[in-house]
Subunit: 281 residues, 2 copies
């Protein structure tokens, strides 16, 4: 497995594969890898001849009071996992490899990049869209794989690449869960053991709420209220949102009359968890 | 000269030249071509083997009360001029060739994209940065040529391409002027003959103001006030700004102690003119 840090190195490495006719996939990550990330590598391998993973904790997508400084970092462990999974190349730039001191460009995605997570994390999707555009422009892969765990992020990246004519296929890969249903996340390691015991209630509650929704007798706002109370009763400290959305546009829906996705974010103590499930008949 | 309308066609045409080892330049325009544009083609030809011009009146860069609908359009005349100038390929897409109905992505450049023209045209540089990124991503030229007449636009495009790692050299090409000094512009055709007689006072006043500035006895705000009055006395209806700026960062400067650029925008009747000159010792 090749490991490079700079833009010229990554461009050269990818260009060599390209001229040899290889199909190339990218898997952008912030490191702190878990089985969810490794499943993205597997998906990438199924669709391509060479897999490039990126590891970069992107400051643009963290708010001023968020966990950029404490976000888990363990490069040696991440590299060992990627190598074992059959990743071919890792791009792990330093901040100064990616950003000029007077960097000042931002990519924003209206519509799918508004509402939901954007309400409490107003800088998040701008930061994601900007860094992903940079990575895709440097790597020029045939496809890029992102987890469905951040479903809104996946929609934002699809929209951004389409709108800017970045010639890449964006592939969504299913959420990987712990045996008790908790969606895998690098931030799960923030949870204390008592918090960890509560966490699976999020997925459980989403499933129950979607089931009630699909019965069609109650409108979503009523069910959402019930589900929110169920979460706080279970020990969640705060529910950011429980939104039933059109699966393509992420606009709010009330009745089960179209392909839907239930999106959620909720806090246990100081840890914010997100999850989502399809909610279609 | 080849003329294409769609993204797949332009990508194919450029890819063929690229695989033949040709160096490719791009000259993005909104049509309504004049000698200024044709000088950009000349500059492009000096730096490359093949020149691609684009003609597209970009709605993203017009404000709701601006002249998008009345902006001059004359495709046949433009194509004849480009062919005569030795342009190799023209990309002239329709709106639907470039934008999906739910297009919703925007590129913003802070710093150099703020202040000056951005004060009265807050959407302008976002619109420019977004369309230029799209065009450059589709064309993937080795270099792209832009006129210095919109000096702030040139700085915004430089910053945007650098920040997003779009691998293109941005070349600025000098302002082309009428014999009386008026900077050539597609919008000059809006001027009545009496307005046209007043218009050269802008360049004349910029030169006088820069000369006084370089003498170093008065601070810029004092000179700017004098120049602004000179313009309104000459018949200009409104001065948007007369800003002495650092030539690289476009921040305001007061004294002639660094490479400077004098940027200006002023109205004659319903026509807004811009101009700029270097102001360094």
């Amino acid at each position: 497995m090749i490991i490079v840090k700079t833009k010229p190195e990554i461009r050269d490495a990818v260009a060599k594969w390209r001229s040899a006719g290889k199909r190339i996939s990218a898997v952008p990550t912030m490191g702190a890898l878990h089985q969810g990330h490794l499943s993205l590598i597997d998906t990438a391998k199924q669709h391509s001849d060479r897999v490039v993973a990126t590891i970069f904790v992107n400051p643009l997508q963290f708010g001023p009071n968020e966990d950029f400084k404490t976000y888990p970092r363990d490069m040696d462990h991440d590299l060992a996992l990627l190598e074992a999974q059959g990743c071919d190349l890792v791009f792990a730039p330093e901040h100064t490899d990616l950003f000029a001191p007077d960097f000042s460009t931002k990519i924003s995605v209206a519509g799918v990049g508004e509402d939901h997570c954007a309400v409490t994390r107003p800088q998040f999707f701008d930061g994601v869209a900007t860094i992903v555009a940079k990575l895709l422009i440097n790597l020029a892969p045939d496809l890029a794989v992102f987890g469905e765990k951040d479903y809104q992020q996946l929609m934002v990246i699809r929209r951004m690449t389409r709108d800017l004519d970045i010639d890449v296929k964006i592939v969504g890969s299913p959420i990987i869960r712990e045996t008790d249903g908790l969606a895998m996340s690098s931030r799960n390691q923030y949870l204390s053991s008592s918090e960890r015991a509560i966490a699976p209630k999020l997925f459980e509650t989403l499933n129950l709420a979607a089931e009630i929704f699909l019965q069609g007798e109650s409108d979503w706002p009523v069910i959402s209220e019930w589900a929110s109370t169920r979460l706080t009763d279970a020990g969640f400290s705060k529910v950011d949102y429980l939104n039933m959305t059109d699966a393509a546009t992420l606009t709010h829906i009330v009745k089960p009359d179209q392909p839907a996705r239930l999106l959620a974010a909720a806090w246990i103590g100081r840890t914010r968890l997100i999850d989502n499930i399809p909610a279609s008949a």
